[in-house]
């Protein structure tokens, strides 16, 4: 009989990740789908689907989440884009300390940061008790701004200066250079930034919960509520809806970024 021998080959290096992938990504995903399409007794049913699309409260949560997601993305881009443009210009940002200053909030503990934001807003009279949407939006923008600045800043740093010179050479005024060259050139960064803000905003729940003092219920809050009340099937279906929205938005952004594979964006 031949002796059993173990020959090491490179593919074995993938085993730890494969195990991780299986345990923490594939199995949970399947579990979500399983719970989303079964009833309490474990039988296949579309009951959750019916319940979700007929329950005005849940549809309202979806609508509010989408709205706040869009609004936050827009606000972050409006604030973050010029900022990133400014940071990427070598004339103003010689030693990159400015970039650090703007992404530093990411390094402070999230719960602490949100708690402090709430106290600050209450103190200046914009507390969630009176202005739930405003307070939530301020908190969201504050939290997600670094996620917009970073990808935009990196795209803008890599921008080919000779293209900007070429535009100007062809008769574009500084304003036209910005809209006809800088913006299109930074569109991969814009897409990256938007995806990094939109989905997490929709599913976040601590920020909206703390800052609106429980008045604004986002998708994340709602899922958490379902699970904490033992309604696993309803919660799972909502998680499934979120998953579908992510997939749709990915298909949508894929076209924009088709020639940007080399840039190594996270999607």
């Amino acid at each position: 009989m031949s002796k059993l021998s173990f020959r090491f080959s490179r593919k074995y290096l993938a085993i730890p990740y494969a195990v991780f992938l299986l345990c923490f990504i594939i199995v949970p995903l399947l579990l979500i789908i399983y719970y989303a399409f079964t009833n309490g007794g474990g039988e296949f049913s579309l009951n959750n689907l019916n319940k979700f699309f007929t329950d005005p409260t849940k549809l309202n949560v979806l609508f509010v989440s989408l709205l706040i997601g869009f609004m936050n993305t827009a606000i972050c881009l409006i604030i973050g884009y010029p900022l990133a443009y400014f940071l990427a210009s070598k004339r103003y940002n010689i030693n990159k300390i400015m970039v650090l200053l703007f992404i530093m909030p990411m390094w402070i503990n999230f719960v602490l940061r949100t708690g402090a934001t709430r106290d600050l807003l209450v103190w200046i009279g914009l507390g969630g008790g009176h202005y739930p949407i405003l307070a939530t939006m301020i908190g969201m923008a504050y939290n997600y701004l670094p996620f917009v600045i970073l990808p935009l800043y990196t795209t803008m740093l890599k921008m080919d200066q000779s293209l900007i010179e070429a535009a100007s050479d062809l008769g574009a005024t500084p304003k036209q250079v910005f809209f006809k060259t800088v913006v299109p050139l930074s569109s991969p960064g814009i897409v990256s930034a938007a995806t990094m803000v939109f989905m997490p905003t929709m599913s976040s729940y601590v920020i909206s919960d703390v800052l609106s003092e429980g008045q604004i219920i986002l998708f994340g809050n709602s899922i958490y509520l379902n699970f904490s009340q033992g309604q696993w099937n309803d919660g799972s279906f909502m998680a499934f809806v979120l998953l579908v929205i992510i997939l749709v938005s990915m298909l949508f952004t894929k076209n924009v970024k088709k020639d940007e594979d080399a840039r190594g964006s996270i999607w």
Binding site: L163, E165, A166, S168, D169, L170, G171, T173, D259
Partner: protein, 503 residues
Amino acid sequence: MKEPIIIELRNVSKVFGDMTAVDDINLAIKKGEFVTLLGPSGCGKSTTLRMIAGFDMPTQGQIFLNGEDITNLPPYQRPVNTVFQRYALFPYLDVYDNIAFGLKLKKIKEKVIDRHGQEVEVTRKLTQEEIDDKVTKALKMVDLEEFEWRDIATLSGGQQQRVAIARAIVNEPEILLLDEPLGALDLKMRQEMQLELKDMHKKLGITFIYVTHDQEEALTMSDTIVVMKDGMIQQIGSPVDVYNEPKNAFVADFIGESNIYNATYLGDKKVRFLGQVFTCVDDFEKNEKVDVVIRPEDIRLCPASEGMVVGKIISKIFKGVHYEYTMMVGKNEVIIQDTRDIPEMDKIGITIAPDMIHIMKKVITENIYLGHIDKNNNVCFANGVFEADITQLQQDSRVDEDGYLVDAKGLKYDLTDVDVQVSIDFNAIGIIDNEEDGEVAGEIVSIIYKGDHYKVIVRTSDEEDFVVDTEYSWNEHDRVSVYIAKKDIRLKLKGDIKDHVKA
């Protein structure tokens, strides 16, 4: 017919930090000319172009276009367009939109009759049909018909280059600026494009300003060549002028192959180099030190008995149309191009016609020699061996016990037999009465009183001169020797020190 001047640079300088890229240049370019700015990298040619385009503002001086000062005009207000080195095409637009980019922004003035029957001037944008028409014409010009809707990324380098040219000329600029546009193309493509560009220049009739470091490209295409070095213009002239009558040794060396020798003008149209006296056609001051340039194709090989100079052929290379021979005359190399296949012989002669000997004035501000470092880290030049401080070739370096140069990072350099340029101030050379006591012996060939000191020229048997400022008087024809202190010998590496890192 004399064409008016379209663009003029007056005393223009550009300084980046502590680096002077362009140093007080004056240049006037005539309408319709094909002008090439030629020079090695870092000579300021691209910076000059960028200042004409408006991307860089001159630190000093003014730029005039058709007599109007445009020094402070931004690029988008200048009637010039640029073809960039790496094309700079917009990757998010297709070929059509790249070319139409400038047209879509353009506003034209037009005279129309308004409803009161009066003629008024209005500005309007180009219509879609006008743009279409111009883009199609431009594409035809660069031979890219039916490429309108192609993505930029799907085009080859040569095609992208054509799009870049079309994008510039479609705006009908008064001047087309081209910044080494063919640099990224392969040789065959480059030669093809050279002819096409030349053709295009003829058809369009506008002024082309072309930047390149390729002397052949410059000679092929230009009406006028501007040779630049260290931010300064060395010579302006037609290709024939620049080739046949180079103003100084740099131009001669940069444009075409040439033999350059130290020589002495003996007066009466006689010049001495390669140890012989030649008849020439130029007039210089008697006993003046000059540079002599002879093109390899202007030297004729002949039997030793008929030669003006006799030497030994050390190499022979077949170059297609001709053979290139390298001959040694004493310590000097002579490069000769001859169509005849001559066997390599120990003794062969050369003849040079008087009008092929180009003599150029030498401007001397310090003594400059070409030398090399020997294995003891001494510097050999002008027939002598001098002690020198080689640590000046690299910052914060020292010489280790094995004689290698070690820099601050611990990298070792082996500088044996490395060529260096040696420069020595006039007042750093000492003269000794005795031929044996100094490092190099020579004869005093000239002594001029300069008020408070004498300018003495000591010439070695190899026609190398030491120009010495001294307070002591000497006599012409004295045999003397010279010495130089170690600290006064300044060295500059010919090439990059990184090439000599010891493995």
